[in-house]
Structures are given as structure tokens and as C-alpha cells.
Amino acid sequence: MLRLENLSKFYGPIQAVNRVSLEISKGEFFCLLGPSGCGKTTILRMIAGFEKASEGRILLDGRDITGVSPNKRDIHTVFQNYALFPNFNVSDNIVYGLKFRNLSKEEQKDRLDQIVHLVGLEGFEKRMPSQLSGGQQQRVALARALVNQPRLLLLDEPLSALDKKIAEQTRHELSELQKKVGITFIFVTHNQTEALALADRIAVMKNGVIEQCDAPRTIYEHPKTSFVADFIGSMNFFPCRVKETINGEVLLELPGTATIHLSQNREQEPGKQLLFCIRPERIRVSLLPPADYENGIRGIIRQKDYLGEITRFGIELPGEKMITVLAQNYLLKLANEFYDLGEEVYVIWSKTSGEILHV
């Protein structure tokens, strides 16, 4: 229902957004994810109408809205600082936009009551914004935008200003809310946990370009570029060279370290330089050598960080390469395995684990 075609934005010589094309379906909870300066907020503002696109088009349900002013787009925004009007109380803030839509007084009152109930602000109607907590302010901002039943809701870093615990709870509420109202949500964030938890699809951005646009699971398990692989979660990277492919298994030489196997149903050219990457939690540490369906490399534990739920190991492999391994402390305890610094261990993972990225 929203389509971006070759959207670009220049600030003088600097290109903030570089020919971005995107298609978002009705009812989707879509996320633009990336580090500061990647252009995600600029895109959001162009969709809302606060920035003019330098190139390209924006189409909403087929209608070209690229040049339309923000007050005529049927798109509403929840701002990062909520932007509640301090001279209006909660009710008046919420109905602010309703007044411009030619609804009868009863209809306005109905919608107001509905939305107040939906976001859980009963009893707060007469309060002023300065008397509300951060979480409450955000709910007012949400209600204010949703009461108008826009076609699209834009959220700019909605959870950044909240404490961790409140943010988690708000995340769930936001997700439920979106499903209930069925409106397309597009939100912008630099926090990959938020993105993974909330979005139906994520567009990972860097330097004004979308590097990958997929469902969270696909992005996490099959990243297409090293940036995406590293930005979401953490990742071990190993430059490698293809030795040969036998029976659907690729042999990769990690120079100076080891040769490993990766089960893939793809032929790889021998001699090709690639990047092998594997998630720290897919690796296990053991005193015993690997089984035949596993890769194993001997290494020495150089770092050990106890993090409550998990322990993060930094293990030095031959060739002075460091590998990060995440172990569940509960499982370690069950198996009576406690590894110390300086101990020699095997670093083991299944031959089906890991991804190959092209350099």
C-alpha cells in the first residue's frame, strides 16, 4: 500500500538516501533499522512530508503523494519526543486532529472513548502533558495519531526514550495494538532487539542504502552482507578460501587456522575468496573432540565474561584468530562444565551451521 520508487535525498553534496525502493503491504509492521546517519529517519520524514524528496516518488495506495503537504497525506507520525501540545490536556491533544475531519460531536466523543480505552489511558483525560510519565505521554501520542484512523502510522524511535523494563512492556502493547487496529505501522530504530521483536519485515540500512529487507528470522539466520551479519546480534567472521566441494559439502580453508566443512547445496568455485561467518551461540566449547558431523578447532580460552544467563568466551585459535562463543550457563552447570582461562578446549559447531558471504 506504500511504495517508494528510487527515493533519494541530498543535503547539498551529501546524499542521505540513495535510490531506495521499497514496497510495504497493508497491515504490515515494518521496520527501518540502521545506525545513526544511515538515512532511515530521513526516509520516514519524506514519507510524512516534512522533507522533500530530491529524486523519486512516494505512492500511497497508488496515489502519488511525493509533493503533497504533510497535513493532507492521511499519514500520521508519533514523534520521538512525542511532541504533545503542552497547552492542551490529554483529551484535547487526542482529538486535535479529529477536528479537521468533519465528524459530528458524538462521533468524536465515541472515537475518543474508544481510543482512550484501547491505549489504557482511562482516567487521564483531564491531565496535562507535564503531569504524565514518559510511557503515558507515548500512549497519548499514539492515541492522538490513531484516533484519526490514518492509512499509515509512522513511529520515530518509539522506545528509545523509555527505560529498559518499560520499553519491553511497551513493545508488547505496541505489537498488540497494531494487530488490533490493523493499520500499517512503519517504525524507525537503531535497536536491533526492538526490530527483531516487533517487525514483520526489517529493512537494514547503511549509508542511505537498504542492504537487506526480509523477515527478522531470515535477516538473523541468513544475512546477505557482512554489515547486516554484524549489525544484528554478534557474528564471528573468517576470511577463507574454497578448497573444493565434495558431496554438497564445501571445504573452506581458514588460512593459518584450520579447514572446515560447510554443508550447502551449492557449488563454490575452488580458490574463491569468501567470508565465512558463524553466530557465537551456534558454537560450543568442549574438552572432547568433535563428532564426525561437526567441525572442531583447538583453542585456548583467553576471555571469559559471566553475563548471568550466558557466558561469553573469547577463544584464541591457531593463527591468532579470536572466536567468540556464547554458552548457556544453565547447560554448563548441568554438565558440570566450568572452563577456566588458559584452558585448552575444542571449539565445535555443526557442519550445517554458518553462512558464506561474498566479499
Binding site: 512530508g49 507520525t77 503542552p86 497547552n87 486532529g97 479537521f100
Partner: protein, 275 residues
């Protein structure tokens, strides 16, 4: 007693009491006054002539306030939303004239407006007019002087109020469907109100009592209450009568302030911004 209270007492209350006291004294023909209680001074004040001058003074001050407001508001608005560098530059330019003596600034206006002044020289030499236009020693000159003098006192409070506003509030209003004009009325203006109230007081009251600008730039028709008071003290040497005029002026201004604050109190109000 705290220093501020002491200061107010010594430098405001006591002189005011002295003036009021003098207003009840009898003037002596040689210029002094004798402490004989009389209401004659006040009887004189309430004769038509002086009251009408007071009324005219109110009118001049009111119009001055309106003109100043009309010029100051757009300036303050522009400044509040300008880039940081522009803001600093404009603030500097507005404050810069304060480093110059007031009288010299008045003289500089006279150089602009006089018959042989800058404006008339340009007009006459380019042939737009045959004779110099009378820009001074009349109401026009007086208003120019007043507005020129008062502009910073109106710009700065309004700017200070508007500066507190976040641009995202304007964007939010537009985002929700309001037009630029509706946004201005509903969101921007309420923010500006405390500054407006302050600015109006800062401009209206001093203008009311001003006697230098009407003297230098105004015409014979533009006598204001300040001029009358000055005349009584300095030329007619009738201290008690001057004091009576002053007391009436003070009283009227106080009345105005009380009413104004009662209806437009900038420190409390459901209309104004809670911070």
C-alpha cells in the same frame, strides 16, 4: 530585612511617598513649597486640559505599543526559528544599540528625519518630491522615535517565549491535519503569550511617561503628560502641582497594571504553557 526589600523601600517606596506628600503641599511664588495641606493641586489636575493630555498620552502609548508589536512579532518569530548562528547574530544586532547613549540615538533619528536629513535629501535630489517632507516635529516623527526605541523591549520577551517552543510541535500539528495558519493560532500563539504580556508592559508604561521623545521628535500638538510634569518642575517651578500630576499618572498606571494582570496574569493561567 532582606537586601531586595531594603532596596525597593529606599529607592522606590520612599521617593514615591515623597512625591505624593508634595502633591498636597502649597506652592510658594518663589518656587519653593510650604507644608500647608491643600487639595488645590488636584483640583487643577482634574480640569479638562490636563486630563485630556493624559488621555492623549494613553492614546500615543497604545498606538506605539500596537505598531511596535506589529513589527516586533514577525522579527521575534523569525529569530526563534532561525539557525543558531542567525539567532546569535540577530540578538547581537538588537542589543548593540543599547551600547549607544539614548540621546545620541534620538539625535541620529533626527538626522534621518530632518528637513535636511538623509531621507529628505534622497527624496528631493531624485525629484520624487519638490519640497522636503515634514517627517519630524510631528506625530510621525514621535512614533518613529517611540517604535525605534521600544522595539528591542518587545522583540526580546516574545523571542524568549517562542524560543522555548520545539519545532516538532509545529510538525505534529501539521501532521495531524492542521493548516499553517491554524497551527499558528492554536500552538504558536499560546506559547508567545507570556512574552507578549511582558513586552506590552515593557513598552506601554515607559512610553506613557516619556518626555524626551515628544520633545525632540514630536510637534507642539504632541505634548504628553511627561512633558507637562517636567514643565511644572523645571520651568513653572510648581513642585506640588507637578507632584499631583505625577501621582495621578502613577495611580492610573497602577490601575492599568492591576486590571491587566488580573486578566492576563503571565504567571498562572490555564491558557498558558505549563513547563
Amino acid at each position: 530585612m532582606a537586601p531586595p526589600a531594603f532596596w525597593l523601600l529606599v529607592f522606590f517606596l520612599v521617593p514615591a511617598i515623597i512625591v505624593v506628600g508634595y502633591s498636597f503641599c502649597t506652592p510658594k511664588s518663589d518656587g519653593g513649597m510650604s507644608p500647608v495641606f491643600t487639595l488645590e493641586n488636584y483640583r487643577q489636575v482634574f480640569q479638562g486640559l490636563y486630563l485630556s493630555v493624559l488621555g492623549k498620552s494613553f492614546g500615543y502609548a497604545l498606538l506605539t505599543t500596537l505598531f511596535t508589536l506589529a513589527l516586533a512579532f514577525p522579527m521575534a518569530y523569525y529569530m526563534a526559528f532561525a539557525s543558531r548562528r542567525m539567532k546569535m547574530l540577530l540578538l547581537f544586532l538588537i542589543i548593540l544599540p543599547f551600547w549607544t547613549n539614548f540621546l545620541i540615538r534620538m539625535f541620529s533619528i533626527m538626522i534621518l528625519l530632518g528637513d535636511n536629513g538623509l531621507i529628505n535629501t534622497i527624496l528631493v535630489s531624485t525629484g520624487i518630491v519638490d519640497q522636503p517632507v515634514k517627517l519630524m516635529n510631528n506625530s510621525l516623527g514621535m512614533y518613529v522615535g517611540f517604535v525605534y526605541w521600544n522595539l528591542p523591549f518587545m522583540i526580546l520577551p516574545i523571542f524568549s517565549s517562542l524560543d522555548r517552543m520545539d519545532v516538532s510541535l509545529l510538525e505534529a500539528s501539521l501532521d495531524l491535519g492542521a493548516s499553517r495558519w491554524q497551527t499558528f493560532l492554536k500552538i504558536t500563539l499560546p506559547y508567545a503569550v507570556p512574552g507578549l504580556v511582558a513586552g506590552i508592559i515593557f513598552v506601554f508604561i515607559p512610553t506613557l511617561g516619556n518626555f524626551i521623545i515628544p520633545e525632540f521628535l514630536g510637534g507642539t500638538q504632541n505634548t504628553m503628560i511627561g512633558n507637562l510634569i517636567t514643565t511644572q518642575y523645571l520651568q513653572a517651578r510648581n513642585g506640588p502641582f507637578g507632584s499631583a500630576l505625577s501621582t495621578v499618572l502613577i495611580f492610573v498606571v497602577m490601575l492599568f497594571i492591576v486590571l491587566y494582570i488580573r486578566f492576563f496574569d503571565p504567571t498562572k493561567s490555564k491558557n498558558n504553557i505549563q513547563f
